[in-house]
């Protein structure tokens, strides 16, 4: 029992130990140091641009855009390749059909 109240007193003393705290004072020339930081912290144009592109949202959007452009170019090339191959086949078959028909008509042509 006595131990408990002793412990409680001790805890109260600790919790009250910062009650009459006085403000701490920073080292001198605080304002000069702040000014030095302001002058030092002005970023160059390249730092501003690189910081902009390093922002996660912008970086992610840029990557998505590049992937989309690549995918578009790739698919449009595949489509072109397929359609040009198809066209040449059609042209070839047309040409042979025309020839065959022409020959048939030539052979069956009445004198």
């Amino acid at each position: 029992m006595k131990n408990n109240s002793e412990l409680n007193n001790k805890l109260d003393n600790i919790l009250n130990s910062i009650n009459k705290i006085k403000p701490a004072v920073p080292s001198p020339y605080f304002y000069t140091k702040v000014l030095a930081k302001i002058n030092h912290s002005k970023p160059t144009i390249w730092e501003v641009v690189s910081a902009l592109f390093l922002r996660p949202t912008i970086a992610f959007a840029t990557i998505c855009f590049i992937i989309a452009v690549n995918a578009f170019v790739l698919y449009s090339k595949i489509d072109n390749a397929v359609s040009s191959a198809g066209q040449s086949e059609l042209a070839l078959s047309d040409e042979y059909n025309e020839t065959a028909t022409a020959l048939y008509y030539l052979e069956n042509e009445k004198p």
Partner: protein
């Protein structure tokens, strides 16, 4: 001088107005940050960053609250960021040490002796500051603003954008948690 005029002058990049604000508020900002980061050098560095941000973003200050309220908010946010960065560094150093890349581990910070505490209370206050480090962020902030800055519940509620009963509840929970932590501390160390 009227605070509004001072802020208008600062918005027009009047350096003498900025100097007046720094001279008037630097002790307040420094003490708030010191209570949170518990290291004199770090606190000075963070307090300087607070004023750099004030200088750079004064045009975004809409004067809906007092200048000191705005300063407290920036100071708390910067100090908490500093603590998070420190914790992240410590975790990273620990992971590196597991892979044998970094032999020196960042140890727990030493006991913090606040310069504004009278000698007979220094040891008790150091134990209390150690316990405060373990509080959740909101309780930590409310406790520092109340005990170190001596702000009223109403002022704390303005700074933390909470209601007065919410601040009261935060402080009650902070005290309960501190008591629990100190109880454990004494059971283990005595």
């Amino acid at each position: 001088m009227d605070e509004r005029i001072l802020i208008e002058r600062l918005k027009n990049k009047d350096n003498s107005a900025f100097k007046e604000i720094v001279e008037a508020k630097h002790v307040m900002v420094y003490n708030t940050v010191l209570g949170i980061v518990q290291n004199a050098e770090d606190a000075e560095d963070v307090a300087q960053d607070v004023f750099v941000q004030v200088y750079e973003s004064i045009n975004t200050f809409k004067q809906e609250s007092k200048l000191s309220t705005w300063l407290y908010r920036i100071a708390i946010s910067k100090a908490m960021d500093h603590l998070r960065r420190k914790k992240r560094k410590k975790r990273f150093a620990f992971v590196q040490s597991l892979f044998g890349n970094n032999e020196e581990l960042i140890n727990d910070p030493p006991d913090f002796f606040h310069p504004g505490i009278i000698l007979e209370n220094k040891q008790n206050a150091a134990v209390l500051f150690k316990a405060i480090r373990n509080l959740p962020q909101n309780q930590h902030t409310a406790f520092i603003l109340n005990k170190i800055e001596g702000l009223s519940y109403h002022e704390i509620s303005d700074i933390m954008k909470l209601s007065v009963p919410a601040v009261d509840s935060l402080l009650q929970r902070a005290k309960t948690n501190l008591r629990k932590y100190l109880m454990n501390y004494y059971e283990q160390n005595l």
